[in-house]
């Protein structure tokens, strides 16, 4: 085991800032990327639904 206690783990032998800034940005970017792609899917499907409904209405009128 590398660490005696949690504070030793977070300190990373004095290099905590560099290590956590690296792993932190990776985590942040991956989370944002997944959320953005999922949000886009939702928006696209929502838009398509409204488009289909609008078309159905137009057909009804005709």
């Amino acid at each position: 085991m590398n660490w005696e206690n949690p504070s030793e783990f977070f300190a990373m032998g004095g290099h905590g800032l560099y290590v956590w800034a690296s792993f932190g940005l990776l985590t942040l970017f991956i989370l944002i990327e997944v959320l953005v792609v999922r949000k886009r899917r939702k928006d696209l499907i929502h838009r398509l639904k409204r488009l289909t409904q609008a078309r159905a209405k137009m057909v009804e009128k005709e």
Binding site: Y18, L25, L26
Partner: protein, 253 residues
């Protein structure tokens, strides 16, 4: 069955190059790749912090390597793949190939930023500098600009076919930068250290090598999953006027 469907059946090897067949297949594969990515990432992070010992010279800052190296590899491999798909688009004129290229670009750019950022975070305690204009770092920065140029070019052109051609050309021209990045540490005398892993021997202990490998696979699985998700979005966007898509979306709900 219509004649169009018959035609599709006859050339089965091209089957998944049509968006219609690709869309549901990609949807089925995505959760598996994402699941694998999460599992591998957790194992990789555990090994990074709790299994591998600190470096005898650099202490604990070298643990950044376990994300820096995979991110840097991915940044180059994704670019090669993007250029390959751009090439396929030009030769076979398959729009799915262009969608794949476009879907890869954002993830490639993200991994490039991560490679540069983690390199900076590792460089400061190791070299005493956040950044140096050395061949490896400069060519990796150029890679980021190539990705950003590619992404903005696609976004700037409304017509999908013209966007595909213009951005595809940029992707193909920019590919010369990838071998420059890769061989920069051997071609020039740089501050950046040489390759940790080469084909004939490994300058690493087995557990370190395995940890790095797990992380590389985690990044690969993640890339496949997120790119499939993004390409599916692109298909919804571009095929919104087709009835098969409405049917497909109805099935998914």
């Amino acid at each position: 069955m219509t004649s169009k469907q018959n035609e599709k059946k006859s050339n089965s090897w091209l089957k998944f190059s049509s968006t219609r067949n690709f869309y549901p297949l990609a949807g089925k594969m995505t959760p598996w790749f994402m699941g694998l990515a999460i599992a591998l990432m957790l194992v990789g992070l555990y090994m990074t912090f709790f299994v591998v010992p600190p470096d005898y010279q650099q202490g604990n800052s070298y643990r950044i390597m376990y994300i820096h190296v995979p991110a840097a590899w991915m940044s180059m491999l994704i670019y090669l793949l993007m250029a390959l798909y751009a090439g396929i688009y030009f030769v076979l004129n398959v729009k799915l190939a262009d969608m794949m290229a476009g879907g890869l670009a954002v993830t490639g750019a993200i991994f490039t930023v991560i490679a540069l950022w983690t390199g900076s975070m590792w460089g400061k305690p190791t070299w005493g500098a956040w950044w140096v204009w050395d061949a490896r770092l400069t060519s990796e920065l150029l890679l980021l600009f190539l990705y950003l140029g590619y992404i903005s070019l696609r976004a700037a052109i409304d017509d999908p076919n013209r966007a595909a051609k213009a951005s595809g050309l940029l992707a193909l021209v920019g590919v010369v930068n990838v071998p420059i990045i890769y061989f920069s540490v051997t071609w020039w005398n740089t501050l950046h250290q040489g390759a940790s892993i080469t084909t004939n021997k490994t300058s690493m202990a087995t557990e370190m090598f395995v940890t790095l490998l797990v992380m590389v696979f985690a990044f690969w699985m993640y890339t496949i999953a997120i790119v499939l998700m993004r390409v599916r979005n692109e298909i919804i966007e571009r095929e919104r006027d087709t009835s098969w898509l409405v049917e497909e979306l109805g099935k998914e709900k």
